[in-house]
């Protein structure tokens, strides 16, 4: 009792949290959210890749799910895999790819657990065709603090299923789930990189794909390029031919400690962006690439968040309706004015596929994600400024990336909030949820 555990943090390392207990179930029958002796709220924790505090529970307890890493069944004919919630997407790929299956939707890192991916209803570069990961979950098993084990799917307990997909871990503890995989005939991806110089060009490139010629599309933008919004548009499809080889199981490169805070400054960010753009322009031809560098370029470097120093990083990811695309130019203008560089800017057009999740972030429109070195008040003030632009554009922010949005911003982003609240398990909570729902527990 009275223990203080400070070793768990989000990917951005801001904010920090102190937990009073960490439970580490090794088996599904040990996932017992009701067995907690302390009268403190509980939250499941996966691989800690959420940037902000949606994976933290300051003053409460965590249930570290990583030991639940077993694949329970893998139907190689149908491509249906049933896993314990702590299995990572990378671990699923290691089994699936050699047998000709792939994740139907994948975020930009494979180092997330299946339970975490469901709780955040993650999206990927194929959102315009496949929707979110939640669209491909057939069933999940949820342990509630009443001790009930609830099977949820589109037909069984559909309300709880909808609340759990994108439900930020608040509706119960997911202990296993089944995921429908996607057939591939090669581990290679045929990729094209097209440079663009104006925002209008990006929109045109995105719209080109409405015919569905490219399953994966994403834009990288150089936020320091001033008025012109230059960037690189990347598009790809699974190759028809090639070996079904997996990514390497171990990553050799590691950032062993926090780099000094000045590592990423305006100059180095400008240098990186300029070189990256130039390299992209030069290599603008079509080529094939293994899925690993195409989907997960940053997974190559363990602990890459340490490049941002001990203060960490934060990401601002918003979505706005397509008709409000002008908001992005306003956002970039305000960032330029604040003289805070974004190291990585990613832009993507979401499609109309409807996720079963009632609290899912993706919705039709354009999404922009910007990484910033975290500079305390400076960064927080900039983000508040950007919120005004997003609000005016009827946009929304992504909880998985957020360490600071206001309750008002959250309510505006998630109109189903009151309906969702009815499904929240009273024994579960998170730092994020207390912050945005104005609950003090």
């Amino acid at each position: 009792m009275g223990e203080k555990i400070t070793s768990y943090h989000g990917w951005g390392k801001y904010p920090r949290a102190t937990h009073t207990a960490v439970l580490r179930p090794a088996w599904m029958d040990e996932v017992t959210p009701f067995a907690l002796a302390q009268n403190a709220p509980l939250l499941a924790f996966g691989l800690g890749r959420s940037y902000g505090d949606s994976c933290l529970n300051d003053g409460g307890a965590l249930m570290d799910m990583r030991q639940l890493d077993r694949v329970l069944t893998f139907d190689t004919e149908r491509g249906l895999v049933v896993c314990e919630a702590g299995v990572s997407l990378g671990e699923i790929l290691l089994l699936a790819v050699p047998r000709g299956w792939f994740l139907p939707v994948t975020p930009g890192t494979k180092l997330v657990t299946l339970g975490g991916a469901i709780s955040n209803d993650v999206h990927g570069k194929n959102h315009h065709q496949q929707g979110t990961l939640g669209c491909h979950i057939e069933q999940l098993e949820l342990v509630r603090s009443t001790g009930e084990i609830m099977l949820c799917s589109r037909t069984e307990n559909p309300g709880l299923f909808a609340a759990t997909i994108g439900g930020m871990g608040l509706t119960g503890i997911i202990r296993r789930a089944s995921l429908k995989l996607k057939k591939i005939s090669s581990a290679q991806v045929a990729v094209e990189t097209v440079p663009f110089d104006t925002f209008h060009d990006f929109e045109r490139l995105s719209s080109d794909d409405e015919g569905g010629r490219w399953e994966y599309t994403v834009g990288w933008i150089d936020c320091l390029s001033g008025q012109k919004t230059r960037g690189l548009f990347m598009r790809g499809n699974h190759a028809k031919e090639g070996p079904l080889n997996t990514h390497p199981e171990k990553t050799r490169l590691n950032v062993p400690f926090n780099l000094p805070d000045f590592t990423l400054n305006r100059l180095t960010i400008w240098l990186f962006n300029t070189l990256y753009y130039a390299a992209g322009r030069r290599g603008a031809r079509a080529k094939t690439s293994h899925y690993d560098p195409f989907f997960y370029p940053l997974d190559k470097l363990n602990n890459w968040n340490r490049i941002y120093g001990h203060r960490g990083l934060t990401q601002y990811q918003c979505v706005v309706p397509e008709s409000e695309a002008g908001a992005f130019q306003e956002i970039l203008k305000r960032i330029a004015k604040s003289r805070q560089g974004s190291f990585l800017g990613v832009i993507k057009k979401f499609g109309h596929a409807k996720s079963p999740g009632m609290m899912s972030f993706p919705r039709p429109g354009l999404t922009l994600a910007l990484d910033f070195p975290f500079r305390n008040e400076l960064t927080l003030r900039l983000f508040e400024d950007l919120d005004n632009v997003v609000l005016a554009a009827r946009g929304a922010l992504y909880p998985a990336k957020d360490p600071r949005m206001s309750p008002a911003m959250f309510r505006a982003s998630y109109p189903s909030m009151d309906e969702f609240r009815r499904w929240v398990d009273p024994a579960l909570s998170s730092s994020f949820w207390r912050r945005v729902s104005e609950e003090t527990k």
Partner: protein
């Protein structure tokens, strides 16, 4: 006409050095170390026979190993401390396995030292789980290997019997000597069984892990600095299927540490509390 039977068996034995023909039997398959050994074997496409007490947990383990590529996974649910049922248990294992290449006995219980000092029934139960029961199953395995060695007189290798003891069994220490006594006795028993099976060409492997980060040790201090079960399992699987090791310390540096610990004079050791 083709090759003579003898020649054919010789060739098969040569190929067999790298490609196991029989099953790997894991008794205590839900222990973390055993499970990770199972994952390595599964990736190599081995046939596995898994024995453990808890059916749901065993099914989860079996599912994972099947998904990872094991060519066949048989599960047997059994209460391992019931030594009077071991004859029946062993015949179920033989039936499930067909031919057995290796046996890994991997279960045990980390005894609470303080409780064992006052609660005799508890102490005896810990001795049964950590010594009587695995020793009894080693005898069953020994009979099996002796019999199959007689049948296949020409084959050069007739199996591996591996058992997980502990560095705790190398010296009676203040903090864990109930556990250590049983594990030390098990190591002695394995040593004797090694002599018994030598003429049958069966290798007996005594495995002595140092502290490994598993659910069994999660409550011990310094759990975060312990060896990873994946690395320990890789050493164990390698030692079981390749080479000639008879006593394996994992990770390897524990061989040196325990040599030093064993050399501490009794007059000093009795004052130590670790």
């Amino acid at each position: 006409m083709g090759r003579s039977g003898l020649e054919f068996q010789f060739l098969a034995a040569c190929i067999g050095r790298n490609k196991m023909t029989g099953a790997l039997v894991i008794i205590g398959a839900t222990s973390k170390i055993a499970f990770e050994v199972g994952r390595i074997a599964a990736r190599k496409g081995r046939k596995l026979v898994l024995v453990a007490r808890n059916k749901d947990r065993l099914d989860a383990v079996a599912g994972d190993l099947a998904a990872r590529g094991a060519t066949g996974v048989e599960v047997i649910v059994a209460e391992l401390e019931n030594t009077d049922r071991h004859a029946d248990l062993w015949s179920r294992i033989e039936r499930a396995a067909g031919q057995i290449a290796e046996v890994l006995i991997a279960y045990g219980s980390l005894s609470e030292q303080a409780r064992s000092e006052t609660d005799t029934a508890y102490m005896e139960h810990e001795f049964v789980v950590n010594f009587n029961s695995p020793a009894s199953l080693m005898n069953r395995a020994a009979v099996y290997f002796e019999t199959s060695a007689k049948k296949a007189a020409n084959s050069r290798r007739n199996g591996v019997l591996a058992v997980i003891s502990s560095v705790a069994g190398d010296r009676g220490r203040r903090s864990n000597f109930t556990y250590g006594t049983a594990k030390g006795a098990l190591a002695l028993f394995a040593q004797g069984t090694r002599a018994r099976l030598f003429s049958s060409g069966v290798r007996v492997l005594t495995i002595k892990p140092g502290p490994v980060a598993t659910p069994m040790t999660a409550s011990m201090p310094g759990a975060s600095r312990m060896a990873s079960p994946q690395i320990v399992a890789a050493d164990i699987y390698r030692a079981m299927t390749n080479g000639h090791a008879e006593v394996l310390y994992v990770p390897g540096h524990w061989r040196l540490i325990m040599r030093i610990v064993r050399e501490i004079p009794e007059s000093i050791a009795k004052k130590l509390t670790f």
